[in-house]
């Protein structure tokens, strides 16, 4: 094995990369995290133009399919149901004259993360696959776009570029975690070997009983579920706790957010956004990353723009890790405050009684049984207590070393779990061993993203080391 020579480059490609390179169309938000004036969603692969064409209506009536390469078109992006997502510019760059060397389409949208995410979701539900980190670059590489003459130079470049990412990935699947995954893989291989041995040597090896099937598979499923639960935590640790500030208008949400951000801690992306949208910023408190989102105030307004803002706030609140319900302590509760309280019921939350520098007129009885913190966003009194409460509520605990944090790894585990569930269901429905074996192989294939591919030879070796067969 000479793989030690350029390990980073070699670790960069998995067998899925190579197989899917010729078939899959991938999509991703190409611009950075946070709010910016413009955000780009990029699509690359054999179906890129077709998929984009279905979701984009140009003002001029020109279809993307027929559009000239490298020419910007203005129009609307719709979701597959026909709902308008954004006004945007679209540009088709046909192969090989594109970044990846494949057909590429870019949508230049408004820079709000919410809009960009919605566009990406629409593309994925229309047949694209969410791109893995670095996947566009990998495609550019194999299509010779980075350097056609000096392939060696390219691999050096990739080496340097991916070393950090690779080290991260390697560290993640080392030690206890990789041990757990490998044990799981071995269990699957042993079981698959049993199934195949009974198929290839029916006179000598009895078929596993359905009890045998379900015991083995339920065990694996439990292990995967546990890993996935830990992975959720890992992703939160990496991406930051998704924290949303909700409250009626004028309770001081924005000041509170500024207070939290103004503290002398790392402020990652302080960018202003459009007024009607959710504003997101990141900060770090006691080593824990938080993504703070300010939202439009809850009101009973009949203004259509405001109603839309409120709708988004609700949706945003529903997907948050942590809600900060902000109330004005200097005023009595209003109907809108009760509405906010209902929102808090859905999620892990902290009640923040703002404006503690003013005389208190709020009735706090209604907040009994809740986590309540009094602060003044203006004087910053009580901010420490709030931060402490946030870190507690985040429940990240001591940072663990062996956490799955990459969406791709988590995706592979989920797919493994799904394949295992299919097998369990198949056993219950009385599916025959030939089909069950294929589902088991699929589970191993997905697990291969984390452990490396399982080859047929490994299964065959297992058969002959476990079963005395052949005559």
């Amino acid at each position: 094995m000479n793989n030690k020579k350029d390990p980073a480059f070699r670790g960069l490609f998995t067998s899925r990369d190579v197989r899917t390179m010729l078939t899959d169309t991938i999509a991703a938000i190409a611009t950075g995290f946070g709010v910016a004036a413009v955000g780009v969603v990029r699509l690359s692969g054999p179906e890129a133009v077709d998929i984009a064409d279905r979701l984009f209506h140009s003002r001029s009536g020109i279809r993307l399919k027929e559009a000239e390469s490298h020419r910007m078109l203005y129009g609307t992006i719709v979701d597959p149901g026909g709902g308008i997502l954004d006004q945007a510019l679209a540009v088709v760059m046909r192969a090989p004259r594109s970044y990846t060397g494949e057909d590429v389409v870019e949508f230049h949208c408004h820079g709000s993360p919410v809009v960009l995410r919605a566009v990406l979701t629409a593309l994925i539900s229309s047949g694209a696959r969410s791109a893995d980190p670095g996947e566009f670059t990998k495609r550019a590489f194999v299509n010779g776009k980075l350097d056609l003459v000096q392939v060696e130079g390219v691999s050096d470049l990739l080496y340097a570029r991916s070393e950090r990412a690779r080290q991260l990935a390697v560290r993640q699947v080392e030690g206890a975690l990789s041990q757990r995954i490998e044990t799981m893989r071995q269990t699957l291989i042993a079981f698959l070997a049993h199934v195949h041995a009974s198929i290839d040597y029916p006179d000598e090896v009895p078929e596993p009983t359905s009890q045998h099937w379900s015991e083995c598979l339920q065990g694996i499923l439990q292990q995967i579920d546990q890993l996935l639960a830990e992975a959720q935590l890992g992703i939160r640790v990496r991406d930051g706790i998704d924290t949303v500030l909700v409250g009626r208008a004028n309770v001081g949400k924005s000041s509170l957010m500024n207070a939290l951000l103004r503290t002398p801690r790392a402020i990652v992306t302080p960018v202003a956004g459009t007024t009607r949208d959710v504003i997101e910023e990141s900060c770090e408190i006691a080593g824990v990353a938080f993504r703070l989102s300010d939202t439009a105030g809850i009101s009973n307004s009949s203004d259509p723009v405001e109603r839309e803002g409120i709708r988004r706030t609700r949706r945003r609140a529903a997907e948050a890790d942590l809600l900060l319900g902000v109330f004005d302590a200097s005023e009595p509760l209003r109907d809108e405050d009760l509405e906010v309280l209902r929102l808090l019921d859905q999620q892990k939350s902290i009640v923040v009684l703002n404006k503690s520098d003013l005389p208190r007129r709020i009735d706090t009885e209604i907040f009994d049984d809740r986590r309540v913190v009094s602060v003044s966003a203006i004087t910053c009194v009580g901010l420490d207590a709030l931060e402490k409460a946030m870190v507690e509520a985040a429940e990240v605990g001591e940072p663990k070393e062996s956490l799955l944090t990459r969406p791709r790894q988590v995706g592979a585990l989920r797919a493994t779990a799904q394949a295992v569930r299919d097998v369990i269901l198949g056993v219950e429905q009385g599916l025959t061993a030939d089909c069950l074996a294929v589902d088991l192989e699929e589970a191993l294939w997905h697990l291969g993203e984390l452990t490396g591919e399982t080859t047929p030879d490994e299964i065959i070796n297992e058969i002959f080391s476990r079963f005395c067969v052949g005559k």
């Binding site: 094995m1 000479n2 793989n3 020579k5 350029d6 480059f9 070699r10 670790g11 960069l12 490609f13 998995t14 067998s15 990369d17 190579v18 197989r19 899917t20 390179m21 010729l22 078939t23 090989p96 004259r97 060397g101 990998k138 590489f141 194999v142 299509n143 010779g144 056609l148 000096q150 392939v151 060696e152 390219v154 691999s155 195949h196 009974s198 198929i199 290839d200 029916p202 006179d203 000598e204 078929e207 429905q429 009385g430 599916l431 025959t432 061993a433 030939d434 089909c435 074996a437 294929v438 192989e441 080859t455 047929p456 030879d457 299964i459 065959i460 058969i463 005395c468 052949g470 005559k471």
Partner: protein
């Protein structure tokens, strides 16, 4: 090209194709070439040994049975010959699903030989010749003919090597060993020297066989009867059912005493005394190897199989051994039912030279010598079926080579034959290669019952399928499609009668009108039981019904595998140019460079299956292909 005799020469006789060796590979190769219009010369060391079965008198089983069906679907001979000479057949894995269901036959060894000899003798353009081929004639990197042991020269456009395990073979019994082929035949070592001179890599493999006993010395009251099916299924499309009454097999097992004797004398076994180096093949382990590898197992099964109707010899499958004769007698007699066993032939181990299959192209032509093909055990495989399958493909491709046509390459998703050859020429093998269902990743598409659908159109277009048979094939396919369409069209109302039927079958009642196709997908129902709801149905052949049922019931899985095949096909479509210089491609790992250079894969897909070639290496190859393509176009960008 160094090796063989060179220079312009005259020949004593000429033909189109020469086949060296008349085992299972050689017979199929010679028949295919002759049927495709070639003048064929088939050499055998002994014509009494054409199509011999020196090991188990049995053919088929999972993976192997699939191969036999495929050979038949392409127009080969093996299946017809088995059907004509089978002593018993059993359909295996009936509970494990249609993809792995497979037929296995006990075959009358002598009748099989005679039936094949007769077929060869009746074949126009095919001549049999008893001789030992001693050398190859090679000129300008191209095979021109062969020379026999007496110096007679035969010219041909293509030569197919099917020598089985006869190259420098050595038989071992206990501490004694002597040069010989299976069943006491002469070995052939001259040709091995020729192959070495040509710079071909040879490997030394070993295998073994079991003692045979006289049937009258068995105590059948202590054996478990293993009966065949009657009437049994046949392997060939042309066979309906076998109506001969089957002969029984028997099962027994080794005992603690057997194991004690074998352990005590392990150092006397050729495999363990040091006479033969390295481990034996895993696919047919000797009883010694089983005891060593699985010391905790207190018994091993022994299958007692009849060798034919004209002999009382019985084969003791599971007791392959190279222990000395007296130890064989001693341990065999500790097996229940074999206490008075009268051994007619002793077991032995045999080692032999074979080609490293990485020397082959996917057409089974040797990379280093044009027109020279190899098939069967010489390529590192074990098994009659594996040999026959290669023989057929080598025969077909030798003819296509002579005619200047593209070789026929079966895809992994098309046939077990494709898996077999792709595995051999892409991965090589470190021990005798046996087909197993787990090797075929698209096995749900490679059912026994669809071998004809997968391969008969190809066999027909090649010219190996008769017009009558092709007409029957097409009729069957039309019936299958028509029946599938009909089952979808027949509506089943959600009424009381339906509910009563479904309840009786242990199935859930309908909530709305459905059709028979949907009902057929329920595991608890099948085509036969659905007759109650389907009074209009016509009587169809059993084989036709089987395909309809399997197609519909497994539609979801079949579609899934077809999608995988489609994705893989993109990789197979990317051809790797023949002049590619792997050592000059930057970014490839050293191991990948060596492996790629040795295998010289023909497609990117094949390259990806080579062990030691990582996905990163494939990515590098993609880059290389793209840059070549652009340079070829004069770099437009």
């Amino acid at each position: 090209m160094d090796g063989g005799e060179t220079g312009s020469m005259t020949f004593d006789e000429k033909c189109d194709v020469i086949v060296v060796g008349a085992g299972h590979a050689g017979c199929e190769a010679a028949l295919a070439a002759a049927r495709l219009g070639m003048e064929v010369l088939l050499f055998s060391i002994s014509l009494e040994n054409v199509a011999q079965m020196p090991c188990n008198p049995s053919v088929g089983g999972p993976g192997k049975g699939h191969l036999v069906r495929e050979i038949d679907a392409l127009g080969g001979e093996m299946a017809r010959c088995i059907d004509a000479t089978a002593l018993q057949v059993r359909l295996l894995n009936t509970s494990k699903g249609p993809a792995v269901q497979s037929l296995r036959a006990q075959v009358d060894r002598n009748l099989y030989h005679l039936r094949m000899l007769q077929t060869l003798s009746n074949q126009p353009r095919l001549r049999l010749n008893e001789a030992t081929v001693a050398d190859l004639v090679i000129e300008g990197g191209r095979v021109r003919g062969v020379i026999n042991q007496l110096g007679r020269r035969y010219g041909a456009e293509a030569v197919i090597l099917c020598m089985g395990p006869y190259l420098a073979s050595r038989v071992h019994v206990g501490h004694r060993s002597f040069p010989a082929g299976p069943r006491g035949q002469r070995e052939a070592s001259d040709l091995g020297q020729t192959l070495r001179r040509l710079g071909l890599r040879l490997m030394r493999f070993k295998t073994g066989t079991s003692p045979r006993v006289h049937a009258r010395s068995l105590d059948t009251s202590r054996l478990t009867l293993l009966e065949g099916e009657y009437p049994g299924y046949g392997f060939s499309f042309e066979t309906r059912r076998l109506d001969r009454p089957p002969l029984p097999c028997w099962v027994t097992h080794t005992t603690a005493r057997t194991h004690a004797i074998i352990r005590k004398h392990l150092h006397d076994s050729a495999m363990y005394s040091g006479a033969i180096q390295g481990p034996g093949p895993r696919y047919c382990p000797s009883i010694e190897a089983k005891l060593v590898m699985f010391p905790d197992k207190d018994r091993h099964l022994v299958f007692i199989e009849p060798e034919g109707v004209h002999t009382h010899e019985m084969y003791l499958a599971g007791l392959s051994t190279s222990l000395p004769e007296d130890i064989q007698i001693e341990f065999v007699r500790t097996v229940p039912g074999l206490e008075r066993a009268e051994i007619t032939r002793f077991g032995y181990a045999i080692e032999y030279d074979c080609l490293d299959p990485l020397e082959l192209e996917r057409s089974l032509q040797l990379k280093k010598v044009k027109g020279l093909f190899a098939a069967g055990q010489i390529n590192g495989t074990t098994g009659y079926e594996e040999a026959a399958a290669q023989g057929l493909m080598a025969g077909i491709n030798a003819v296509r080579y002579i005619r200047g046509e593209e070789p026929v390459i079966l895809d992994r998703s098309q046939a077990y034959i494709g898996v077999l050859i792709d595995d051999l020429v892409s991965k090589g093998t470190a021990e005798p290669y046996r087909m197993m269902t787990s090797r075929a990743e698209y096995r749900l598409l490679l059912r026994e019952d669809t071998a004809d659908r997968r391969l008969t159109p190809l066999g027909h277009s090649l010219g190996l399928i008769s017009p009558e048979r092709f007409a029957a094939f097409e009729k069957k396919q039309r019936q299958i499609e028509a029946e599938k369409a009909r089952l979808e069209a027949v509506r089943v109302p959600a009424n009381e009668q339906t509910a009563a039927f479904l309840q009786a079958m242990g199935s859930t009642p309908l909530t709305q009108t459905t059709n028979l196709k949907e009902l057929l997908r329920r595991p608890e129902l099948n085509y036969e039981t659905l007759a109650v709801l389907d009074p209009e149905r016509e009587v169809l052949e059993e084989e036709t019904v089987r395909v309809v049922e399997n197609d519909l019931r497994y539609a979801g899985y079949i579609e899934r595998q077809q999608r995988q095949v489609a994705a893989q096909r993109r990789m197979e479509e990317r051809r790797l140019p023949e002049d590619i210089v792997y050592s000059e491609i930057g970014g490839l790992s050293l191991e990948a460079r060596e492996k790629l250079d040795r295998v010289r894969p023909q497609t990117l897909g094949q390259a990806a299956r080579i062990s030691g070639v990582s996905p990163a290496d494939i990515a590098v190859l993609l880059v290389h292909l793209e840059s070549r393509r652009r340079q070829g176009r004069g770099r437009v960008e």
